[in-house]
Symmetry: C2
């Protein structure tokens, strides 16, 4: 881990600064909720457009919020560091501006608000049962994957915004690397909405794409791939990847898994990789696209992945995570496969492993 | 506000640091939950006792937690800044040590965990209804004051630890200041457990104490004051302070309100002060003990009070707060009274206002 960018330069801290960090943590959930409302009521945006500051009454006039409500939020914002007060005027800080303008911060914040907040309180139960004990706040389900279509519109927007944000930037880059193998057929395991398969079909006119996922998910992917006009070049393989005795039909030049294995536990990853091994042509390769927290160049990216692990624990399935590459590489080894190549920091945060 | 101690020196930040703060906030609830578990499972304590570091297996052996659970918590702890990793050993940071050793941090953290966390998610609803929309997570009540005796043992411990921590240090100091007035009688409004009344009776052998509160609360106070042996020198006045037409029986040399008015809204404070004015002897004074966030010498103290305001919003009664002294002094003026004297930073965080 590259430490030079860390915002927690703890060893350089005065003990007093460490104490203040500890205090900040002690009330962090209220700090989060107040920050979200300062954003959602438009207070930060309003201040961002008036960099000379605004008085309380000027801030209050256009908002549909009680004076008491605005007052406690502004005061909280001072403590949190989103805004300051000077001679009866409120001014946005740099942190405040970042909180409302950075796309990743915004997406993570809404994901936390709509998908994770309540369930996060069940982290202990989730760890102790190995089940996502926070998921019942979203619905009466066993894992989140079966039921993404059943979320409320707000939850659904927050979930897919989050999910897409991290993969969209990396696909065009990785498709080029896949092309270099000159494959005849590719299987996209965990095909999701078919987004990657469509890109492969567009860029490689001769290939046949095979999409493997839950039947429900495949129906959604087929709609997209059919609409994109690739009839005759794609094949659907409904398969529960965790039924290890049920082999994957066919042999493939490339087995593609993009941010898929992080949805599983150590033992499940080994099982999936063994299952993949049997479906590989002799000269074929398994390509794994992942985000490893230990390979991030920025502390905030590392932190976001570590916190995303907790989403997997409390909301998704209770036993998966965004991995440390050192842990992940050992799982590949344990499945009897070899990692031929590691490329890190693709589109900043992604890694591509070539496995055989 | 004294800014020299602020841990949010935003104007000096590089934009990149501000962006990292914003990222930290976006996942703050998970950061809180993981920190609490690293504390409660004893991981931080274990590391604090082995300052040369411990390997994963050494950490795992004495704990009753899955390896997966421990791994995601340790990894989260790295991002949060509670611990670091170096050559396969985990080491506690200064922030980690502060998080498990500072009494105020510990009390605030458990208060957040047991009383506030779930309800904090209802901050928006609380602001919009003027009611503590998070209170139903604790029980089917209108305000928290009527029902403190109905909390679970864990919730009760966290609430009273929090409540007592802030008043215990200041009473002995303030009793001396009350003594200087040589009062014959004192009324303790919002007498709570009778703690302050008992201290007055101990230090001023000639006075008569009058305790005003809800009947249920007075029963608890009487038990304590009776056990302390002050029979014949105390008088109970059951009164709902918000029934403004129902006057307080008697005239008093000192009307005492300790961290009481912060439990009420602006208009209610004006109403209570007007009611007090009628119960004051001609040479009597109203003494108000409060913690004002704008009078704190340390950023963390200011922040804690601003976050405590949000507890008042979501859990207590939906319309009160830890006040800015500038707002509070205007309410005193609006009630037709005069602030004769302000003393701040008593036992670091408290203020004593003398009003007539």
């Amino acid at each position: 881990m590259n430490k030079k960018h860390s915002f927690f330069k703890d060893s350089e801290y005065h003990a007093f600064t460490a104490l203040e960090k500890a205090h900040f943590l002690s009330y962090a959930p209220y700090a989060f909720q107040a920050s979200v409302l300062l954003r959602d009521y438009g207070v930060l945006n309003h201040l961002n457009q008036h960099t000379n500051g605004l008085e309380f009454e000027q801030l209050h006039a256009p908002l549909s919020i009680s004076k008491y409500g605005l007052r406690i939020l502004l005061e909280a914002g001072i403590g949190i560091g989103l805004l300051t007060e000077n001679e009866d005027k409120y001014l946005i800080t740099k942190t405040g501006t970042m909180f409302i303008t950075d796309a990743m911060v915004k997406i993570n914040t809404s994901f936390m608000r709509d998908i994770c907040y309540e369930g996060a309180g069940k982290l202990k139960e989730s760890i102790e049962t190995g089940k996502p004990a926070g998921l019942p706040y979203l619905g009466p389900w066993k894992t989140i994957y079966e039921v993404l279509s059943k979320l409320t519109p707000l939850q659904s927007k927050s979930w897919f915004d989050f999910d897409n944000f991290y993969s969209d930037s990396v696909f065009p880059i990785i498709v080029q690397q896949v092309q270099a193998y000159k494959p005849k057929n590719i299987i996209d395991i965990g095909a999701n909405t078919g987004k990657f398969s469509i890109q492969c079909l567009q860029h490689m006119p001769d290939i046949q794409m095979h999409l493997l996922d839950y039947p429900g998910q495949l129906a959604m992917a087929e709609k997209n791939i059919h609409a994109a006009g690739f009839e005759g070049r794609y094949h659907l393989i409904p398969n529960n990847i965790l039924e290890f005795e049920k082999e994957i039909t066919g042999k493939f030049d490339i087995i593609w898994m993009s941010q898929f294995l992080d949805c599983f536990s150590d033992d499940e990853i080994i099982g999936i990789l063994k299952k993949c091994k049997k479906a590989l042509n002799p000269s074929g390769v398994i390509l794994v696209n992942e985000t490893f927290w230990d390979k991030q160049p920025f502390h905030a990216a590392m932190y976001s992945l570590q916190m995303t692990s907790l989403y997997f624990t409390t909301q998704a399935n209770g036993n998966s995570q965004m991995y440390d590459s050192r842990v992940f590489l050992k799982l590949i080894e344990a499945s009897g496969l070899t990692t031929l190549k590691e490329v890190h920091q693709i589109a900043t945060t992604h890694s591509l492993l070539t496995i055989q």
